[in-house]
């Protein structure tokens, strides 16, 4: 099968949908001839024109609100939020309006919109352009939250997000944009709420999201050399979360490491770890759960510091080893 990049997969999913459904359109800053800050929509204005590839002023709250209003009245907008850090400006419309309207209105109306936004560090863009704030939106009933880790997943999950009648926040990792995988040309949908076991293993489960899936796989390959069999689970969507697949894996391996790029404190790893600590899998846990996440600092500019701010392959390798040696004592 042909390989395309994650970036192309996102573009393809949007384009296929836009060809079929006039209600779908893309709105955001510099998404026209510029093609978006990361080039995701490059070429789309040429195909779909400026009405449907709608360049906006630099007005994140306005764009988000316009997306909500158009969704409520029959369109299916895709909003490109140029950097996910800027959700700080758009949040009122996303959290207080999009997520709540249907409930507040007693089940009337719906807000089928997708907020696509690049997140993560590694580009040297420093503290205000490198955050991973997905935990915020997972906390809000009414929203769905997606974090694809591969080109294949990106295309299929975006299709599902576009088909969904609810507001979906779709996190694209900047460093994944140029990664490739086999992606069918035709459309397909990956249901929201289905995790994928990206690698099977028996000794320990690593639940990893976005770019950390790849680092976990690298770590797993290294650990294999030492005879440690690692299972890597990629939740793919944080809301809804496929707790079943995660619990099943942990029940099998008895060990859990959770890894995300977002700051550890208050990150979604806490949700995953506690979900396990509350679940029947707790009884199968042979060692404390280990979470890896970003350190408690803003993302620094210097490239070496920047790397040190988030989990790297050796950190995952170490976490696995520590977990496997630290058997539960008292129980």
């Amino acid at each position: 099968m042909r390989e395309i990049t994650y970036l192309e997969a996102v573009r393809e999913a949007m384009s296929i949908e836009m060809r079929k459904n006039d209600d779908v359109f893309l709105m955001g800053e510099d998404i026209g001839v510029y093609g978006g800050a990361f080039g995701v929509s490059r070429g789309m204005i040429e195909e779909f024109g400026p009405e449907r590839i709608r360049n906006t002023p630099i007005s994140e709250a306005g764009i988000a609100g316009a997306a909500v209003g158009s969704a409520l009245t029959g369109m299916r907008p895709i909003m490109e939020l140029q950097f996910s850090d800027f959700i700080t400006i758009a949040l009122d419309q996303i959290v207080n309006q999009a997520a709540k309207l249907r409930y507040m209105y007693g089940g009337k109306g719906k807000v089928p919109m997708v907020v696509r936004t690049p997140s993560g560090s590694g580009t040297g863009a420093a503290a205000q352009h490198s955050q991973s704030l997905e935990a915020w939106v997972t906390h809000i009933p009414g929203l769905k939250v997606v974090q694809p880790s591969t080109a294949y997943d990106a295309k299929g999950l975006l299709k599902a997000a576009l088909d969904d009648d609810n507001p979906v926040i779709f996190y694209e990792h900047k460093l994944l944009y140029k990664t490739s995988s086999e992606v069918p040309e035709e459309e397909y949908s990956i249901p929201l709420g289905k995790a994928e076991v990206k690698r099977e293993g028996t000794d320990i489960t690593i639940v990893a999201t976005a770019i950390m899936v790849h680092k976990a796989l690298e770590a797993a390959a290294e650990l294999e050399k030492e005879g440690i069999s690692v299972e890597v689970v990629d939740p793919r969507t944080l809301v809804p979360l496929d707790t079943e697949t995660i619990i099943k894996s942990v029940a099998k391996t008895g060990h859990l490491v959770v890894v995300h790029e977002a700051v550890k404190r208050g990150g979604f790893g806490g949700e995953i770890a506690s979900m396990i600590a509350e679940s029947e899998a707790f009884d199968y846990l042979d060692a404390p759960i280990k979470r890896l996440g970003g350190v408690e600092t803003p993302i620094p500019y210097n490239p070496e510091l920047e790397k040190a701010a988030i989990p790297q392959v050796p950190d995952i390798v170490n976490a696995v080893k520590e977990t496997l040696t630290k058997k539960a004592v008292a129980k």
């Binding site: 994140e60 709250a61 158009s70 009245t73 309006q97």
Partner: protein, 330 residues
């Protein structure tokens, strides 16, 4: 059309329609006065924001809108809802938290919506509805539908960033939306003259290259005319208008408000000398459209409608606890 000339009405409205508006204004007033009493008696929980004294803006701005046309409303939205065709029984039931309410008891006073009638809903976030109205107008524009969206907001809301971002977007895209500012002189307590450095909120239209119009919001005829012109302009694809209607809320901001930020004299002046209902009544009578008696009958009918609504609400069932978890996702 002798009488409409006397009324200085620009669009043509039948006498029936005008009398209907008169009754509607009473319905709005009765509704909010009833709510006020229920709150005072502790019969309704939560909070509420009453628009007594502002009946002309809601009724006038919606007078010519069809069910296809949309509005976005605010925390002070009962009047908008009624004016856009909302049923007072379902509204009152909502305030009582009943299943028969507009939101099945889940939204309450601040979130009444009636999508079938084009009421996109009351928003509790000040300024929150402005970008939403632009989105609604964007739909009309993109789908080539000819509805207009009237976006209600207050003087206080005009200091929110959302006001600026949204109106700018509407202005560059010439969207069919009317920004209707009900300047009732105060936010919660801040007087508009302390909170802005301009004489009129409508002056802010200059920042977006759109028309800004100042009107007497307590004169329903002026409200109808200005909204008519703005909606016509919008439907012709000429873009948005910012209308500022000067008005006044007779009651406090919300259920508990000592109103220390203004004088009783000021309140009395607006109440005695600028009552929008009284004014419309005089206009109708002078123009020979209705007699005092006829108008009294309409007023009584409004009262009756309210009483029925209250009965409906009070006799409606409470939602079951199962309702808690439904309606989150579509």
């Amino acid at each position: 059309m002798e009488q409409t000339k006397t009324l200085k009405l620009v669009p043509e409205l039948s006498n029936e329609k005008l009398k209907g508006l008169y009754k509607q204004m009473w319905l709005i007033r009765y509704f909010d006065e009833q709510v006020d009493q229920f709150f005072a008696k502790g019969m309704i929980h939560g909070t509420t924001h009453l628009a007594v004294g502002q009946e002309a803006t809601a009724a006038g701005a919606c007078a010519l809108l069809s069910d296809e046309d949309k509005i976005t409303s605010t925390h002070r939205g009962h009047g908008h809802s009624i004016a856009k065709g909302g049923r007072v029984d379902k509204m009152m039931a909502e305030l009582f938290g009943r299943t028969t309410g507009y939101c099945k008891g889940k939204g309450g006073s601040m979130h009444i919506a009636d999508l079938d009638k084009g009421n996109l809903g009351a928003m509790g976030i000040v300024g929150g509805g402005i970008p939403l109205a632009v989105g609604s107008a964007l739909t009309a524009h993109m789908k080539k539908l000819d509805y207009v969206t009237v976006c209600f907001f207050g003087d206080g809301a005009s200091n929110e960033g959302s006001f600026h971002e949204a109106i700018n977007m509407a202005s560059i895209w010439d969207l069919p939306v009317v920004f209707f500012c009900e300047n009732n002189q105060y936010g919660m307590s801040g007087n508009v003259s302390e909170m802005t450095n301009v004489e009129n909120i409508a002056d802010r239209a200059a920042a977006y290259g759109i028309p800004g119009v100042v009107i007497d919001g307590n004169d329903i005829i002026e409200v109808i005319n200005a909204t008519y012109e703005a909606t016509e302009r919008a439907r012709l694809g000429e873009g948005p208008t910012l209308i500022e209607a000067k008005t006044y809320r007779w009651k406090g901001h919300s259920k508990s408000d000592a109103k220390k930020y203004r004088t009783r004299d000021e309140e009395k002046d607006w109440r005695d000398n600028r009552d929008p209902i009284k004014r419309f009544k005089e206009d109708l009578v002078e123009a020979g459209i209705a007699t005092e008696d006829e108008l009294e009958t309409l007023k009584k009918a409004a009262k009756q409608e309210m009483d029925d609504a209250v009965e409906f609400a009070q006799n409606s069932p409470m939602p079951s606890l199962d309702e808690l978890l439904t309606d989150v996702y579509a």
